[in-house]
Symmetry: C2
Subunit: 439 residues, 2 copies
């Protein structure tokens, strides 16, 4: 009679061996049920990070996380449903635009989001900047809102993938976050828990992302698609540029304001382009229409105000002040100090340490370090130039929104120090590096 | 202002970087003070195991462990002092012979030992098989006994290297034991905490040892010598054979009985030879005499009964029944069932899965799995043949000492299954592979 010993699982991974799916599921399940402590689990995660997980092991990890909690089937939704997930970046308010835009296109979006951990707030933190808005919705509320409004962005229920929260908290504390199979299994378990017809992934690559290189981001995207394929779920992944903030705003209320400006048709640029690209992809998949037709329909829903109208309805349905859609400046919280950022050199903007912009915004109060930290919705950074643009000395290139002049001064200095300005012209990076298509 | 984050230390090791000594000491110190939890510490240990520690990092690790508790200077001892440590094997009762033998040679031995974790008991568990014997001695008792008797074997005080106990418990639970720098720093911190003039290490290599290969054992020995050298301590290490049990007995009372038989001059063989080799080495170092003279003196102290006399005095001084030195069979606990092991094949003994012999003895009750498990002092296995010897079918080759006939039968089968018997003659392995000399 052989007794199961979790140390054998750790030792196999430590020694570069391959685990049977049942071993992975038993170990992760044991951790989720508190039968295996933080020590063995952390040693296991580090061995996984350093020695890797193959496709079958990654699948087993995903299944273990998925199986630790409840799922939401969405069977009651009578329209094609789509979920969208970003691996996380700076100034990334795409979901705030994508969800009402997809709803305006006749699709249903149930987006469950965790609170942001890291320098900047997550989608949920941004949305929570709208006064009165609730994100802790019951499953019945989610389903009713999708039926009535077409879209909902809410907090992940504690009943869904509890093992992911436990594993992520441990990974965050043990420097075991940056692993392609661990990230892929975490992302996909959350996505598989919601029964959407299509899963769209935005895998970020660059100085503001987990994956600094496009190659690593491609690997992460492929790993996610493989999981979706084995689960029989339709999934597409874009590898997109995070070598600079996606939008101009890096904060929470500031991000919401910029998203509304896009929905109002007043703001153009990378944020709008990416939201449109995802919406077109979703409508293409749902209606089997050609790309140009899908792009045209998405653009029209933005231009005719129907996406803005869905945004207003979503906010109101979740208890928020719907007037924010028309008067963001009047409704959203505002920081007491707004200080312009003026260029300290002339030249072409060739690079941005995007993570540093995120950290500077976090230091103003826009992000959290620990899961229970409070977030200041009003503060943040607005940075207008994008890579490849010409900047003149003394020119205002953005603003810092802060609680104090000291805070603002520090953020201005950090922002300027994060910019690389060169003497000759440089090319702008592509917004979308690649689209990867799964099963 | 940069805030110290333990995750940066983990990440450096994870990414193959080198830590500054202060970073290692801060991390290990933080763990010892319960400021860093099991999760981060286990991730760190796994990263150390997989990516290694260089000499400076290993030194810093040793210093951190040593600095977590008290040390014992031994300044009051007026004779040359020697400490002896084995990395752990099966049937290894050398210390039980070495300590009184060195005392008979005019040296002082303070050996502090942990309780065995693993299949077989440690030196302390063996000694505790003697009725009445105390191993929990205060520092003053240790010093008084060395002055009066010349040798003492006692339990490690909780005040000495507390970080080592915490780290080892975590390593044991997280499959992070088998790492040369982690083993070396653990061994040497314990040895450096006692101010002996000479440290002798017995680094075991083979199927019954942590280090299966001679090369790995050499590396461990060299790592220990490097630490001793930096600490300005004299240290010598033997790499010795653990491809078979060292003595014939694998248990606790059985080991004591075999050690007494050696001290009585009745038992010859590998166990006696190795105890003599260490004693000769100690007397060589203390008196700067040539090897043959030292070997002769060690052998004489064994043959003239003076080592046995020191053993009797040590036992009595620690409250044990000194008559055990003359009548071990009458004083030591005995198992109710003694079953002969008979060879199930004829041929030459070419190999022993020594760890399996240890496990079979552990399954009888001679070892512990958890630190608080009780040990049965009476049970164990006696296996007479050594590698290279001829065995005839049906010949009794040893005995199992057990609580029940079922237990005994199982241990007989496991022992026979752990033996490799071949048709042609094979050479016996050398007892000592190498002596490594330090600073």
């Amino acid at each position: 009679v052989s007794v199961w010993d979790p140390r054998d699982v750790i030792a196999t991974k430590r020694d570069g061996g391959t685990l049977a799916p049942a071993e992975v599921e038993r170990f992760v399940g044991g951790f989720a049920r508190n039968e295996i402590g933080d020590g063995p689990a952390a040693a296991f995660l580090m061995a996984c990070l350093l020695n890797g997980l193959d496709e079958q092991e990654t699948l087993a990890m995903t299944r273990s996380i998925l199986g630790s909690g409840a799922t939401i089937g969405l069977e009651a939704i009578d329209r094609p449903t789509v979920d969208k997930h970003s691996t996380g970046g700076v100034g990334d308010g795409v979901s705030l635009i994508f969800a009402p835009l997809a709803a305006a296109l006749g699709l249903g979006v149930v987006k469950l989001s965790g609170r942001g951990l890291g320098h900047t707030g997550g989608t949920l933190d941004k949305l929570a900047a709208i006064p009165g808005l609730r994100t802790d919705l019951a499953v019945e509320e989610l389903e009713r809102q999708v039926l009535e409004v077409g879209c909902v962005i809410a907090a992940q229920s504690p009943a869904i993938v509890p093992a992911d929260r436990a594993l992520y908290a441990l990974r965050d504390a043990t420097a075991t976050v940056p692993s392609v199979p661990l990230i892929a299994s975490s992302v996909m378990a959350k996505k598989l828990a919601i029964g959407s017809d299509l899963i769209l992934l935005d895998v970020k690559a660059g100085s503001g992302a987990f994956m600094a290189s496009v190659a690593d981001a491609m690997a992460l995207g492929e790993a996610c698609l493989a999981i979706a394929g084995h689960a029989g779920r339709r999934c597409e992944a874009a590898v997109t540029d995070m070598s600079q903030p996606l939008g101009h705003a890096v904060g929470n209320a500031l991000d919401v304001g910029e998203a509304i400006a896009v929905l109002q048709g007043e703001e153009h640029g990378r944020l709008r382009d990416l939201a449109l690209a995802f919406a077109a992809r979703a409508v293409m998949a749902a209606e089997r229409i050609p790309p140009d037709q899908a792009a045209h329909r998405a653009e029209r829903s933005l231009e005719d105000g129907s996406a803005l109208e869905r945004f207003r309805a979503m906010v109101a349905s979740q208890g928020g002040d719907g007037r924010v859609a028309d008067d963001p400046a009047g409704i959203l919280p505002r920081a007491p100090v707004v200080t312009p950022i003026r260029a300290d050199r002339s030249g072409w903007l060739s690079g941005i340490r995007t993570d540093e912009i995120g950290r500077a915004s976090g230091a103003l109060g826009a992000g959290r370090v620990r899961p229970d930290d409070a977030i200041d919705p009003a503060v943040g950074i607005v940075l207008r130039p994008t890579i490849g643009e010409r900047i003149e000395y003394g020119e205002p290139i953005g603003d810092v929104h802060a609680r104090s002049h000291d805070d603002a001064g520090a953020a201005v200095r950090r922002t300027l120090a994060a910019l690389t300005i060169v003497e000759g012209p440089v090319a702008a990076p592509p917004l979308v590096h690649a689209w990867l298509e799964g099963g």
